[in-house]
Point group: C2
Chain length 347, copies 2
């Protein structure tokens, strides 16, 4: 066996950046965890966590979800990749009828990333997690050479518990049901596009990046018969309606005039030719509820901070299983499913 190698010499780098060796399981990785990561996530840095964490029993059926986040830019009006990764995963649990409990965090960092960027992202994650009462309990960090990843990618996995009554599912959507959105649509995608392309809109459009846990809990508490909930992320409201129409076999009719859109989003979309219904949201959901409960649902949603613009935007009709858009003068058109989104790397 050869001689033991000496301590790897440090590359000739300022100490305020991520080094390749930070990702390789040695002393530098231990320091990255203890000095830069764990304290910002609320963990005791003297007790580095095991690779796997043992959790308390789950009161209810476990619900599991995962999401990768590759948004560019990392920071944008209304959020950043850290808050997006926390809320995005929490929202997937919430709309399935689950209370989010724990998150895991896997990070791929580009060599040379300023540690200050990592700090901001982690602090944002901690703050978002705290707001939702969840804890980041396990993680992993890899560092790849310059050029092998663009800055910083995250994956969060969420584990929660199913809370009764859960939505009965999009296959149970009935004729006469009412379709709601929990707020103005298209804010996230437009905010990212404007930030990335540095378009001179003043004020800059802000993302709706935020939690849906309170909103889903409010519907449950109000006793609303919820058929289906979905956070309208990639593909926007349009993608959700297409999926639900296929699942239930009915026609989902949206009244364009009733869809809430902020002036900022309307302005950018009119200028660039995008349809706000097909643009991503990151804190806004679509709900299908029993017609008799629609008013109670709107009232419950509007009491939740950030959801005061919740609106009924359409209803479910018997006919073929497609979404339909009612235009301003009352004419109805099929709502076209986009094959892809208008712009990449929005989440």
């Amino acid at each position: 066996m050869p001689r033991m190698p000496l301590e790897c010499p440090l590359p000739n780098e300022p100490d305020d950046r991520v080094l390749l060796a930070h990702g390789e399981g040695g002393g530098l990785m231990r320091r990255l965890l203890a000095e830069h990561i764990l304290p910002r996530l609320g963990h005791d840095p003297s007790l580095p966590p095991d690779d796997a964490v043992v959790l308390p029993p789950i009161n209810g059926l476990p619900v599991l979800t995962t999401d990768a986040f590759v948004v560019s830019p990392l920071f944008f009006p209304g959020g950043d990749i850290g808050s997006l990764a926390v809320y995005g995963t929490i929202n997937d649990l919430a709309v399935r009828g689950a209370q989010p409990l724990w998150l895991t965090l896997s990070m791929v960092l580009e060599e040379g990333l300023p540690l200050s960027v990592l700090h901001r992202v982690l602090e944002s994650m901690a703050s978002a997690a705290k707001r939702c009462g969840v804890r980041i309990v396990a993680g992993d960090t890899k560092v790849v050479p310059r050029g092998s990843v663009d800055g910083l990618f995250l994956t969060t996995t969420g584990l929660g518990r199913l809370v009764d009554p859960a939505p009965t599912g999009s296959a149970t959507i009935e004729i006469g049901d009412v379709l709601l959105v929990s707020g103005p649509v298209g804010r996230h995608g437009v905010a990212i596009l404007v930030a990335r392309e540095q378009m001179p809109f003043d004020p800059p459009p802000t993302s709706d990046c935020g939690p849906l846990w309170e909103a889903t809990a409010a519907l449950r508490t109000a006793g609303v018969r919820v058929r289906a909930l979905r956070d309208a992320t990639r593909g926007g409201v349009t993608a959700v309606l297409h999926e639900w129409a296929r699942d239930c076999g009915h026609t989902l009719v949206i009244d364009e005039a009733r869809v809430p859109v902020t002036p900022e989003v309307r302005g950018v979309c009119e200028l660039l030719g995008f349809d706000p219904l097909a643009v991503a949201n990151e804190g806004t959901m679509v709900a299908a509820v029993a017609a008799e409960d629609a008013e109670a649902a709107l009232a419950a949603l509007r009491r939740v901070p950030g959801h005061d613009a919740a609106a009924a935007i359409g209803e479910v009709r018997a006919r073929k299983s497609i979404p339909v858009l009612k235009r301003a003068l009352g004419r109805e058109h099929p709502l076209v499913e986009p094959s892809g989104a208008p712009f990449p790397r929005i989440c």
Copy 2:
């Protein structure tokens, strides 16, 4: 509101590659899932899974772990990024004393990645998961523009159940305990290095990429009093010993002559000046067990396929909390903790 956009025209690309639009939540993403991903993971493509999955109750405490995989090259002798991502996460659960039950999979794909590469990786994951009796139950796919990621990165998160008796933990390692490895060390790191640099070794060294679930179950069934188990990944056996020495406050003495090393790994390490003890493994673990149970532990491990070279390599002594290496002529040296690994992107 502007006119609805028409279906996005397809980029001028052959249809055997990943497109940006495959990651954007529209019809193309639905087809990517239904035609390329779900069938290979054993899911009914006509039933695209929800973003979040409701699982059956967990019989025992839940155990959660996550890992990112950025290995280069994607395919190497003995494994690939897919099997690595499954076994890596399963092994983190197994060495914590948990039975792996479910996995989630998050993928970041580079625009232009051949779909055949994606197919091979997914088929390898399905095969590895089946071997361990686990199921990939939730996932997410993002596509980023050419140059924003190097090919394909994966994150797997594993959820399992704690099985009694679990290892009591590295802080409970006692003086007199025996240190074992479940097989020859350093195989994965050496295999990756040789494959990436296309070094002309014949036969090429193969990775130990494989599951540790059977091995950990065998120790439990044999009634071995296990203090601690750890898959010796980044940083190799050396990193594990350093962590355990800090945790228990004792001296962990390794006898170099008793450490199993394959001729292929020995040859590469002697040529390039690496220490096999500091090179990563991906299917080999270190165990600290009660001295009286060491023989039973070795016998149990050697009955598990792939672990017939399990060996006792050292023991625990009273003194300061460091690992020590006993060299061939009996002299003892402190085992130096590497600050980083000798080469990046091995997992």
